[in-house]
């Protein structure tokens, strides 16, 4: 398995890795000894069924959930043992696109986008904030929505705004949690395009968590399959799509 990776990706620098990470909730093991590496400028898709611990995995990577055991290293930060200040520094460089887009209901789109700028970077200059918001909105193709409330937006638009909110900090790593979940196929493919264009523009390394095969096919450079809290298979999409593994085959053949 490890050999296959080396063949396709080559010897690019590793920007983040997980080593033997374990996590359990109320005695139920969700992550059982997970190890993986994210390379510079690659789109790594983690494929798995709902409840296989994918979201927990990336939340562990930004310190939203504390792992029970193992090493998590993101951009050189030892995530599990960080002071609040260093944690904040690390988070500024890691964009997190939430499954439910997580736009703040009580704020306009503009305020939503300004939130990480004022909070993470401490920016207060009005014009600077405005400029950054406009650029971020242009990048996701939603220039006219700055004064709208999240409730007025469609699911796809919310996703885009959510992505724009993370892009506004110029992240080095993007973590996408189910970017296409709950969207119609056309909107989903638009999001897929967006993920690719974001990589083009921002030169990010991305970790995409999904159970959507078409998303995986479109966006992935490399795929890791997660089954029952363990990494089961790793390789390019084409390399693993014809697997005969009993747990994974249904994914590609449904």
């Amino acid at each position: 398995m490890v050999d296959a990776t080396n063949d396709t990706v080559g010897n690019k620098a590793i920007v983040a890795f997980l080593h033997n990470v374990k996590k359990s909730f109320n005695g139920v093991e969700v992550l059982k000894d997970i190890s993986l590496e994210l390379h510079q400028s690659e789109n790594l898709v983690i494929l798995g069924r709902s409840g296989s611990g994918k979201s927990v995995l990336i939340k562990c990577m930004v310190g939203l959930i504390e792992a029970d055991d193992g090493d998590i290293n993101v951009l050189g930060y030892d995530v599990r043992h960080l002071e609040p200040k260093a944690l904040n520094e690390m988070r500024q460089q890691v964009g997190f696109s939430f499954q439910s887009s997580a736009l703040y209901d009580s704020m306009t789109v503009q305020q939503n986008l300004e939130f990480p700028l004022t909070r993470n970077l401490g920016l207060t200059n009005k014009t600077e904030l405005n400029d950054k918001v406009i650029i971020a909105l242009q990048d996701v193709g939603l220039e006219g929505t700055a004064q709208k409330m999240p409730a007025e937006l469609s699911g796809g638009m919310k996703k885009r705004i959510g992505i724009a909110r993370t892009l506004i900090l110029n992240p080095k790593i993007m973590l996408y949690d189910e970017p296409t979940a709950g969207l119609d196929p056309i909107t989903a493919s638009e999001i897929n395009e967006l993920i690719l264009s974001v990589r083009e523009k921002y030169k990010t390394s991305s970790l995409i968590i999904t159970h959507d095969i078409s998303c995986a096919r479109h966006t992935s450079d490399r795929v890791i399959a997660l089954v029952d809290g363990k990494t089961k298979m790793e390789g390019t999409f084409d390399a693993i799509k014809d697997t005969s593994d009993a747990d994974l085959a249904p994914f590609f053949n449904y």
Partner: protein
Amino acid sequence: MPDAIQTLLLECESIFRFVQKLLKQAVARPFEWRETVRQCFEIGNRSLFLICFTAFLSGVVFTRQSRPSLSSFGAESWLPSLVSQAVIRSLGPLITGLICAGKLGSNIAAELASMKVTEQIDAMEVSGTRPFSYLVVSRVIATTLMMPLLVVFADVIALFGSYLTVHTINNTSLQLYLNEVSVVITFLDIFSSILLATFFGFAIGFVGSYAGYTAANGTSGVGKAANNAVVISMLFIFIIDLLSLQIINLFR
């Protein structure tokens, strides 16, 4: 049974941790001034009309209801003093507390629960914000500060409603009414009423935040959190009312 006891103990532990976190975050820098002020507006100004309306009505109703029993032994002139004592010592804080428990408790719990369910709290955290201090501390402080103010309004409006009633029935002048009120009401009454409201405010903010912040995932978690918040904070209000009565009577 041991399961139920375990659940109860775990809940207690989680409440204790929540209190601990609340106290810790309340003094942590930076303090979320802007959000606290915004919450004060949401909680104070947005509840003012409802509180005033209810207080006015209860002032009128209470006066009209107590009149017959007083006039039956010819003590109708005691109406202002009776009503004012009832309003300031108990009715004002209680009405404000119950209405705020319903309005603010459910509001806070539902808002926080839905923020949790839709990962907004996580999003805040990765945006370099301590969500606990941004969401919970600001709300608890806002309810704790705004409740006494709302009670002042409620007391004044309820007494005004009562005055209008007394005036229409007995043609009592405002001067006389105020005189009778100010003779029976003491500083202790007012301060205890305000202190009581402060506790009510804290209870409402705390219970609402706790229910919302620890809500189970999923939409049903939101509803349950809102429901729990209302029921428990109303219960708390009555308990606090009773306890404070005992304590205040020591000074009276």
